[in-house]
Amino acid sequence: MRIIRTCRRLQIETVLAASAVDRDSLPARLADRTVCIGPSRPADSYLKVDTIVHAALATKSEAIHPGYGFLSERAALAKVCEAEGVIFIGPTAAQLEAVGDKLRARAQAEAADVPVVPGSAVASAPQAVAAARLIGVPLLVKAVGGGGGRGMKRVDRLEDLPAAMELAAAEAGAAFGDARVYLERFIASGRHVEVQVLGDGSGGVIHLGERDCSVQRRYQKLVEETPAPGLSAALRDALHAAAVRITARLSYRGAGTVEFLVDRERDDFYFLEMNARIQVEHPVTEAVTGVDLIAEQIAIADGAGLRLAQADIQSRGCAIECRVNAEDPANDFRPSPGLVREVSWPSQEGIRVDTHIAPGSRVPPFYDSLLGKIIAHAPDRAGAVARLRRAIASTRLEGVHTNLAFHETVLSDREFEAGGVDTEFVARLLERQAGRTEYASNG
């Protein structure tokens, strides 16, 4: 939907590949043409590389934009595109492979002189225990091919490590078809700060500032903002420079995001991973820089290279985004698919809404539960928070449960208001809420 908008502005014809259940969705109505590629199950539609490329060839599409889900970071799609002469709007297949494998990405970071979290690849339980002694507990067992918290386990005692490793490997094998795991030191109080980059494919790289995505629940981002509040100028510059170094080392092509963990206690940072696609939270960067990242992706893929120099990137004000999901915070954030009977998105000054949901839209249970994103932009952070709260208050969604009320709780929280929360903030907030509910029901 977001991509179709930019294409329309650039007068690029669009063909949307949709599953049967998405045939009549809002994006399908906005695209110049929609082709139905298969049934609702992603494995039979959105994950079928051959079908997608066939659809592109048959509709005489010059390029494929993979969006940010499903195949966006699969080297297989980029490879078939390269073989068939269809432009893949993204990095090369080799670059996707290099950053998709966390161990290889770590090695690239180290080679680019970018600090990584102390950790180690492990193949067996005895080897893991030996490595864990050096790294120290608490530590995390992570999937080499993973993401989104799957295949990730926290270990507080060394004796729990073999069992956690087995569990993580099984989960990783089921989710990613790759059971390899590695160990990483657990940072007690860390912030998730990422840097948006654009690369021309031959070593030219610019950054578009950072985003703070520390407001997460079980590694799922909920609120993102730019600039990251309360970072020292030195740390901010170091983050930007590190992101540019690793991107340049890869001769990376297209838009990407380099994720870092900022250690609140040590005021230091570590490379986490690189996301080789446009991200859900890209609008906050667009709001403060005025750059249409999708348009730049398309220009780079089209061979125009970088149309902007680093000096052209000026950041103005603050932007905050909240992800509106069809889920029920009262029921452990269980997904709440269904029919959206009524919807009214906000349209105040400084507010942008990216959504595919209109009255009568169905939220199918097959895909993730994101309904839309509300982005607020203002000259300062307090102003952006206030605008976002007003926008949330005027949003109406009937028919499915949403996390709108939870967003209001986050945005009105003192700790969030102060800025610079760590990734455990949401867990603490939920605990406090649960405590209050218990207190209220007892009293």
Partner: protein, 151 residues
């Protein structure tokens, strides 16, 4: 796999106990829609999903009845790809209008990136219409042909 009346009753019971008002279930060519406060409806999809009426023996390949005539069934494309009427260029087509077909008769090929997938009639009868041009793109669920059921 087929869905028995007892299965449907069990599913209705589960929906009744759940927090949901509506359920749409699709398994192997059968589409079941349940809505709270409305009668259960076991039906074919809207011209797609290779749906089955009367629970055929080969679920997933039986065509849906065309909306206009109850005895005419749609043969839907099982996947997105290029529609070919003949096994090879220059060879006679698998079927013409008027041809008699059995459930297992191959009536067309859908090619996806050089991979050939046979399309079977899924019903016994007479081909009455061929709707997609040879070599054209057929979408998933698109009606390729219509067959008038025998008997």
């Amino acid at each position: 796999m087929s869905l028995t009346a007892a299965d449907v009753a069990e599913i209705m019971r589960l929906v009744e106990q759940s927090g949901f008002d509506e359920l749409t279930l699709e398994i192997d060519g059968i589409k079941l829609s349940l809505r709270r406060g409305a009668p259960a409806e076991l039906s074919s999809g809207p011209g797609l999903h290779l749906p089955a009426v009367g629970l055929p023996e080969t679920p997933g390949t039986a065509p849906a009845p065309a909306a206009a005539e109850p005895n005419v069934c749609n043969v839907a494309s099982p996947l997105l790809g290029t529609f070919y009427r003949a096994p090879k260029p220059g060879e006679p087509p698998f079927v013409e209008v008027g041809a008699q077909v059995e459930e297992e008769t191959v009536v067309a090929i859908i090619e996806v990136m050089k991979l050939m997938n046979s399309v079977r009639a899924g019903v016994r009868g007479t081909v009455t219409e061929i709707l997609v041009a040879d070599g054209a793109l057929a979408e998933f669920g698109e009606t390729l042909m219509r067959v008038r059921k025998a008997g």
